[in-house]
């Protein structure tokens, strides 16, 4: 996944400034989303909530793929692990949701490290194939081990958490809870990618051999990129289960992993806000297109296809290019 080589004259690296703009956008976004559902009905609120949950999963994959350059086709599997861990712990064992949330993150973090090991041996598409196999194996486990996971019938009546005695069962209350959690997780990721770790991840993406020669422990960072990205998948799952209040294996299949990958790329891989845009495209756009009746999925896929053809770097890439062109005082042109 080589970065586009821009042979043009030196251009200002506006990334750092953009990222601080990203912080502002995060705060603003959280504020807007806190109040947005007013008068929107439970459906609109639910769709927004679902969008936030998917955004968390996409954020994780964006770290693994967009920042650290490690292709993973298993993010939905991690979401599934998190969702099932939370569902089983809270329904069967009566564990507090917050503890289950933390344990889900820990579990997926550890399994993410394990999945990272092949990445030390093989890269790019070969790595993608290994994660593809892993993703399907997890799905088979979720479906077949009925004694634990409920098998094809899934797990129903998953309770929503409370907050210091406050009940969050209502659509709006839980939505606000999700806004807060998403905001915290996004903030953590914002901090992470700005820290030296983020720099090391990007170095790993752009040139692992050179990075190693500069003392970057590529092994540790590769495993961490997988582990943290997977943990975000686990967190998303731990929120998905109480949001839908029911889980079965279908939302954690290979095709969903591919779909999450689509959201990363379409939103703009390697951009902090890319996952939000990607998940917006993947979750909210199809809902919105429902007015088109039976053709809505064709229209949705066509929009994604055309978007990618016009801008392979995704919406964020397009926005950045437009922004730069605007600042240089000339209209946003086509491809560089």
């Amino acid at each position: 996944m080589s970065a586009p080589a821009t042979a043009s004259a030196a251009r200002p690296a506006s990334r750092s400034r953009l990222r601080d703009g990203a912080l502002l956008a995060l705060v603003l976004g959280a504020a807007i989303l806190w109040f947005a559902p007013a008068g929107m009905g439970r459906y609109g609120t639910y769709v927004l909530s679902l969008w936030l949950v998917m955004s968390i999963a996409v954020m994780g994959l964006n770290l693994t793929l967009g920042y650290a350059g490690q292709t993973s086709l298993a993010q939905a599997a991690f979401m599934g692990l998190g969702a099932y861990a939370t569902a089983i712990l809270t329904t069967t064992y009566g564990v507090n949701w917050y503890a289950a949330f933390a344990l889900s993150g820990l579990l997926t973090f550890c399994i993410g490290i394990l999945l990272g090991f092949p990445a030390l041996r093989v890269r790019t598409h070969y790595l993608a194939f290994v994660t593809l196999a892993f993703s399907t194996l997890i799905w088979l486990l979720l479906r077949n081990e009925q004694w634990l996971t409920g098998g094809v019938f899934g797990i129903a009546n998953i309770r929503r958490p409370g907050f210091f005695g406050l009940r969050l069962d209502g659509a709006l209350a839980f939505h606000r809870f999700l806004v807060a959690v998403t905001f915290i997780l996004a903030l953590a990721l914002w901090w992470l990618v700005r820290s030296p770790w983020g720099r090391a991840f990007m170095a790993l993406r752009e040139n692992p051999v050179r990075a190693a020669s500069l003392g970057v422990d590529t092994r540790a960072y590769t495993l961490l990129a997988f582990a943290i990205g997977s943990a975000y998948g686990g967190f998303a799952g731990a929120l998905y289960a109480p949001l839908v209040e029911f889980i079965d294996p279908s939302p954690f299949s290979l095709s969903q992993s591919l779909f999450l990958l689509l959201m990363v790329v379409a939103g703009g891989s390697g951009y902090l806000l890319g996952p939000f845009i990607g998940a917006l495209l993947g979750v909210v756009l199809p809902e919105w297109l429902r007015f088109a009746g039976s053709l809505y999925l064709i229209i949705f896929a066509s929009i994604v296809l055309i978007l990618l053809i016009i801008c392979p770097q995704g919406v964020s890439g397009l926005a950045e290019r437009g922004w730069q062109a605007l600042r240089r005082g000339r209209p946003a042109g086509g491809a560089p």
């Binding site: 479906r143 094809v152 839908v244 029911f246 009746g293």
Partner: protein, 378 residues
């Protein structure tokens, strides 16, 4: 970079449509139109559309036209929940569908909370056992159908051992989990227990396994096209033992696809357009006229679901959402009273159904009904 949030808000507002005035009877069909359940869902959708057209041609329900809106579940619980939530926000009078038990389980609490009747096409046993008073079936549940099959295997086929072939989704697994205890009760040995994948490329290995199990009979519980392909593979491998199945093994689609290989297949049929009931046969003809193919049981379910709403609404003489569910619960709908129900149906307190069903056999490429099984509690 604020644009995504604004876009999100705008899109979400676009999602939240204003409630329509009640000059129509608005039914929202939340159904599998893509993903693993698309074939079943499309049948159900067409059946419901045909029912709405029929009802509107005769002046609607209480003089108001019926409108059926279809929302795709993508065979995914999260998307299903969104669709049902939307239906309720849009003041749907009743919710039809979905078919798969995952999507049903993910959405039935929503309609329960909103006190809206949800008339589903699922056959798995579980969801009517949770005390939800707003869920209704359109077919016999597997826990009602499987005892009949076990009895048939024991008394008519006289099988001492059976090989069970099932598709590993909620439908197949549900059926398998329901038949195994019944077989045990009937003293029939399970010689082989074979799971298959939905969309599996080839059934040769499964057919060989069945053949080697050397059971007295084979119970096949797969979706229609997989049923057809399994029958063909079994024929090719020279499996000669009787093939016993449920509605999905004896349907017109299976016979069309499997050709010769379907001949001699026997079993229990809940709903069939070949049943010896004029209503069902007439429905089958008109469905084929309109859509160009033969309806499977899901098409019949869609048609019935709309007519269940019609009957109950006319019974309570008003468009009362909560009343609809109350009226349906425990009701018996007869064809004499409401021809659109196609077959006399009793709705139990938990939403399960009791009605006649059939024992059938495929002879010369046609489904022939041998026996009509009475209701469990006539």
């Amino acid at each position: 970079m604020k644009s995504p949030w604004i876009m999100a808000a705008a899109l979400a507002i676009g999602c939240a449509l204003p409630a329509l005035a009640q000059d129509k009877v608005k039914l929202v069909d939340v159904i599998e139109l893509s993903g693993a359940g698309a074939s079943a869902g499309t049948n159900f959708k067409n059946g419901a559309d045909l029912a709405a057209a029929d009802i509107n041609a005769k002046g609607g329900i209480l003089g108001k036209p019926v409108e059926v809106i279809h929302y795709d579940t993508q065979t995914n619980p999260g998307a299903t929940r969104a669709a049902v939530q939307r239906a309720i926000d849009e003041d749907a009078y009743a919710i039809l569908g979905p078919v798969f038990s995952g999507p049903i389980s993910a959405s039935m609490q929503i309609s329960q909370r909103a006190e809206v009747a949800q008339i589903v096409a699922g056959e798995a046993a579980g969801f009517t056992q949770q005390g939800n008073p707003y869920i209704f079936r359109t077919s016999l549940s597997q826990s009602a159908a499987m005892p009949k099959i076990a009895k048939y295997l024991k008394d008519t086929v006289k099988a001492g051992s059976v090989a069970v072939v099932w598709v590993n989704n909620d439908f197949g697994k549900g059926g398998r989990d329901a038949i195994l205890p019944e077989l045990e009760k009937a003293g029939i040995k399970v010689a082989a227990d074979i799971a298959t994948e939905q969309g599996q490329a080839d059934f040769a290995a499964d057919a060989i396994k069945v053949k080697n199990a050397n059971a007295d009979a084979i119970f096949v519980y797969l979706n229609e096209d997989e049923s057809a392909r399994f029958l063909r593979a079994a024929k090719q491998q020279g499996v000669a033992k009787p093939m016993i199945g449920e509605t999905t093994l004896l349907g017109a689609k299976v016979i069309e696809l499997a050709g010769d290989a379907a001949n001699g297949v026997k079993g229990h049929v809940g709903l069939s357009v070949d049943a010896p009931l004029p209503g069902l046969q007439d429905f089958g003809k008109r469905f084929q006229q309109k859509y160009g193919y033969v309806s499977d049981h899901n098409g019949i379910k869609g048609y019935m679901a709309v007519h269940m709403v019609k009957w109950a609404t006319e019974k309570q003489k008003k468009l009362d959402r909560k009343g609809l569910a109350d009226t349906l619960r425990g009701a018996t709908i007869t064809v004499a009273e409401e021809p659109g129900i196609l077959i006399d149906t009793t709705i139990l307190k938990n939403g399960d159904l009791d009605r006649e069903s059939f024992l059938a056999e495929v002879v010369d490429g046609k489904q022939v009904i041998n026996t009509v099984l009475p209701k469990l509690n006539p």
